[in-house]
Symmetry: C2
Subunit: 219 residues, 2 copies
DNA sequence: GTCTATATACCGATAGAC
DNA sequence: GTCTATCGGTATATAGAC
């Protein structure tokens, strides 16, 4: 009972229960990472936003590297869950559109015109060689998972006649992945409208008839 | 004569003449920027590499922001010169291949497997909202220049029957620009071979016959 | 688990001698 | 123009009380 009372007292002014602090830190750090990059966010930013202290974060994540690795691993696990949760009967075109929608969500989360969220790869690539090796390893695994899924989806779609493209499916997967990653970045510098049109362009090349039926993704 | 003598003495141990220090700083900073990002390089890195002191750089570029703006403006000027230097009789396909080659050069400049140079946009996008406004402005202008040229080249190529693609030329220009920018980043995380194949994939979609004639870009 | 307080390091920037 | 020396700010990280 004493323990519970102490908890209740310490939790004054916070919106989450004590055992969820770790999750709140991850949630906050994730947004900071995708908005400002890894070197661009500090424990202090998280502490201020959560109303806790610098040292409290170090209790959950002793070094920033630990937080960074946890973040990327979290992306991987979430992607695996996202794939597993896709309805089994969904065709390749719709799976791809669902994936595009996660990027549309990144684009929508902006406070001003030039600070939309980037995807994990796009947020970490520029400073890649300055990151600790455990983080680099985890990022490579994440990129591999996404590429494998994209490649498999494209292959299935072509086999079923829903998607049309030239060349190797893995090459096309890399092209689409690179265009999405670079597209969010370009949205920051050239305006959000560019990214919506990029999504339509990618879809148009994969299957003009389905795009016509959907009416494009322009907001 | 006194001035010249003083210069000669101060230049001991350096490989460039005194009036070129500014250029040497820009050259060194440019590589650091494309390899480590804007927040990832410090005056100290430049000073060590050039064998000068921190304060000497501040003489040429009082604030880091000044150096950053000068770097991006330099990219813009160099791109304009590059465009102007393209032989007038070159067809759109060849112009596009020449542009791809500048990205091939970025990829080739790596000291280890995962630190190839990124293009300016890809190096600055992740920390865009943390950059000083004058830098952001200059970057937007650079992106606009490149997009305009890409769009015009694509349009001309389609008109001349050398390039084939669906949809609006500007949308295709953004797609190609995004794929190149994201592609270099993916090369860091998934291996350089992916980028060579991406270049082939882009070219294949624009004109399969010319790719066949050229034999691809695989190293 | 979270706090206060502090150690340590790095970086951008300035002052003043030469 | 470049140097030495240093200030001020900010970042990661730790020690120890509660």
């Amino acid at each position: 009972m004493l323990h519970a009372a102490t908890e209740a007292q310490a939790d004054k002014g916070r919106r989450w229960s004590r055992r969820d602090t770790r999750e709140a830190i991850l949630e906050c750090a994730e947004e900071l990472l995708q908005r400002r990059g890894y070197g661009g966010f500090a424990y202090q930013h998280i502490a201020v936003q959560l109303g806790i202290r610098n040292a409290a974060i170090h209790y959950h994540f002793p070094a920033k590297e630990d937080l960074g690795v946890a973040l990327v691993r979290r992306y991987r696990e979430r992607f695996a869950q996202w794939v597993a949760a896709l309805p089994a009967q969904l065709d390749a075109w719709s799976r791809l559109q669902a994936y595009f929608s996660t990027y549309r969500a990144y684009l929508a989360e902006r406070k001003s015109s030039d600070d939309c969220l980037l995807c994990p790869g796009g947020a970490l690539a520029a400073e890649f060689c300055t990151l600790p090796e455990p983080m680099r390893l985890e990022i490579r695994l994440l990129m591999r998972d996404v590429q494998d899924w994209l490649c498999a989806t494209l292959e299935q779609g072509r086999r079923d006649g829903e998607l049309h493209f030239e060349g190797d499916a893995l090459d096309k997967a890399v092209e689409i992945g690179a265009a999405l990653q670079g597209g969010l970045q370009i949205a920051r510098m050239s305006g959000a409208a560019r990214f919506y049109r990029l999504l339509d362009q990618l879809a148009l090349e994969l299957n003009p008839l389905r795009v016509e039926a959907a009416g494009g993704s322009l907001p």
